[in-house]
């Protein structure tokens, strides 16, 4: 079963890391990604550009509106994701708990919806 692990970080906290801290943090991410590739959990994963690059698109009354950012008032922002294959939720929680950002921010684990096409 597939789960999407949505990674929420405090951009300020991550952005204020020193060079050596941020190198170590990225190193943990490389090691984690390699680990879940080896274990067979990995399907896909990407990091996102910071929130100031975000654009929100809506169509209302047939009219396109594009606005700057998602204007989230929350402290943590969506910063990246992993799509993983896991046996069940406990397995997915195990994987998510090893994502380096779980220590700084939080990781939301969402099962992927499967549509029945029959």
């Amino acid at each position: 079963m597939k789960y999407l692990c949505l990674i929420y970080d405090e951009e300020k906290k991550v952005g204020s890391m020193s060079k050596s801290e941020s190198d170590a943090f990225m190193g943990e991410y490389y090691a984690f990604t390699e680990g879940i590739q080896k274990s067979g959990h990995y399907v896909a994963g990407e990091a996102l550009q910071p929130i100031h690059t975000a654009t929100t698109v809506r169509i209302r009354n047939g009219k396109l509106s594009t606005t700057d950012g998602p204007f989230a008032e929350t402290k943590e922002q969506l910063g990246g994701f992993y799509l993983i294959n896991a046996r069940d939720l406990n397995d997915a929680i195990q994987v998510a708990s090893k994502i380096p950002s779980a220590r700084l921010g939080s990781v939301e684990v969402r099962p992927i919806m499967v549509f029945d096409h029959q």
């Binding site: 079963m1 046996r87 069940d88 939720l89 406990n90 397995d91 099962p111 029945d116």
Partner: protein
Amino acid sequence: MSGDAANETAVRDMVDAVYRSDSRRVLATLIRLLGDFDLAEEALHDAFTAAVERWPRDGVPANPRAWLVSAGRFKAIDAMRRRARFDASLEEIARRFDVETSDPVARDGESVEDDRLRLIFTCCHPALPPDAQIALTLREVCGLTTEEIARAFLTGPPTVAQRIVRAKAKIRDARIPYEVPVRGDLPGRLDTVLHVIYLVFNEGYSASAGSSLTRPDLSGEAIRLGRLLLDLLAEPEALGLLALMLLHESRRAARTSPAGELVLLGDQDRSLWNRELIAEGSALVQRALSSRRFGPYTLQAAIAAVHAEAPAAGATDWAQIVGLYDVLARADPSPVVELNRAAAVAMRDGPLAGLTLIDAILARGDLADYYLAHSARADLCRRLGRTTEARASYGRALRLTQQDPERRFLERRLGELPD
């Protein structure tokens, strides 16, 4: 009454007795076999219906529980095959069950007990909201009806039903596995289970709102759950929690006056304490302490045991209680533990020492909205003769509690203050 009718009545009673003693075990196994709570509940119902029809005719089987699991499983496969005419994917599932679980009852008793543990851990999975953990545990593990749970928690049956439906949907859709956690995860997962049981107990022992101080049924259910958990998993904190509940429960009769008023520990008639529960609770505390792997529940139980062993309030070993609170404050630091420790220090070293500690906690703002902090402060001020401060603190406590007997107690104390 004819012989047949008499036989039928006897078998009916037997089915009822098996339902009471074994329906939760059968359900726990059916959930494992069928992989779905709703399907398993339906199968359980069908299995007992079949028992009522067939046992009077064919005789009561040698192993009723195994018969029921088997019957429930066949009924579920049948039901799926019938539905498969409309949904082809179910045929595949039905065939898989037929093969995979062709001999479910040959498993030994131990794995049936494992199923009960699986059920408990699944109902108390931390991915479910706490309200849902409680409702689901009472429904599936204890077999309470939705109406009974709603009444116990003073909410409407639709609210409880919705919690249960959502929890089952999450178990299915997020695929929460039906398993006992692996060793490494066990301590954290066990904490959640213990917490659920203790919340159920507390709701029964110290109802959070309403006209009555306690709801004994709920406490009894929590104690039953605590015993079941301990039977299945002899972990020190499971011992500690059961001990804690038994020791609290031992004082139930002394906790309220005949008029329904709250009686504090120091003023209780100790001859009303249940000695059997105290003996059992104290023995469990000893076992838990000797494991050397104990935690907060065991420590709280040890404190309750020291109180229980004192022949009179004045003979309480406050030094030992303060010592236990010191350990508890390290194992599980919280402002409430600090408050209780302060109250014990007041008993050991005098009210001024306790008041200094309580004022320090309140100054941090931690327990500003906790009525017991203000009533404890009021009590110490009263004993120190600081009547104005006592009156202000009783007043604040009064504004913070919703429970009628507690309110009357505080009002009584306020009335007793000298002008």
